[in-house]
Amino acid sequence: MAPRLKLFLPLILFAVLALFLFRGLSLDPRAMPSALIDKPFPVFSLPALESGETLDRSLLLGKVSLVNIWATWCISCRVEHPYLNQLTEAGIHIVGVNYKDDDAAAQRWLADLGNPYSVNIVDADGNLGLDLGVYGAPETYFVDAEGVIRYRHVGVIDERVWRSKLAAIYAEIGGELPPALAEAGP
């Protein structure tokens, strides 16, 4: 290597390091890919919150669904609740998983804040949550019409993240996007 070029080696190394560190600034260290992407939704047999009848994974077959993990002890769930109501109103199919919660408190919550869920699965012990790899509510799983998990969103769903990211994913896995919920135009 020419000696002149050698002098620049530390600068080049610094630039490469800075580039990587700068990239790291905009990465979320908590973002963890789900191990269940492109795997079938786990088998379960749990009661429904509303009627008590036993539910299983057949309720996720035949249409694209959002499976939302929520609980009354989860503060962010309260934040996202109004937007879930809007999604349901616009025609999105949302199934709730009431995760490690108290049934009475959950029913009161739905009576007070509105019920965006077509049905709620009671997961009192968190076993379904464990099978799904849930590590904190709220989490939302995008399940296609074959009952296969295609995407997981960790954290609150609001209008911004729906329009910028989730709407496109919902459409991509075969969901029919109501005009009111389409992605933001150019």
């Binding site: 963890m32 890919p33 191990a35």
Partner: protein, 152 residues
């Protein structure tokens, strides 16, 4: 001073009591495996703690699961597979070698090799510089400088 010590001891007891629920194991061997595995599994929520150290609800659930599986006779490999199937390789502090984790395993060796090569190169060039005799021209210049120094 005594009060200080009592206070410190109190803090220690609180910290120790905050995390761990106790399980009764049917054999000491199972208990040893429980401790080994709970040190090795990483808490998905609080990412710089293992599930033995964390008191996040998810870590409690994973410990319970670990206990139940050990008591029902699962092998270490089966338990790790169970956890990885749900939480990904991320959940192990010593992930399986291969695929995306290959760089984790190989990077230290590669970096060490690069370090050794650089160190050798530096040492060699330094030794060359040390042992190189001065040219006649340099010798003459040096002599001049020394004389000037003496004159001054």
């Amino acid at each position: 001073m005594k009060r200080m010590i009592a206070l410190l001891l109190g803090c220690w007891v609180l910290a120790a009591g905050a995390v761990i629920e106790t399980y009764e194991f049917s054999s000491p061997e199972l208990e040893a495996r429980y401790h080994a595995l709970s040190q090795e599994l990483r808490c998905p929520k609080c990412q710089n703690q293992n599930i033995a150290d964390s008191n996040a609800p998810i870590a409690q659930d994973l410990r319970k699961q670990l206990y139940q599986q050990l008591e029902s006779g699962a092998t270490d490999a089966e338990i790790l597979d169970y956890m990885v199937a749900r939480y990904g390789e991320f959940v192990r502090y010593r992930p399986e070698m291969g695929g995306a984790t290959l760089i984790l395993w190989l990077a230290p060796v590669l970096l060490l090799a690069v370090g050794i090569v650089v160190a050798l190169a530096v040492l060699r060039s330094r030794r060359d510089a040390d042992s190189r005799a001065l040219t006649e021209e340099e010798q003459r210049k040096l002599q001049e400088m020394l004389e000037r120094e003496q004159d001054a």
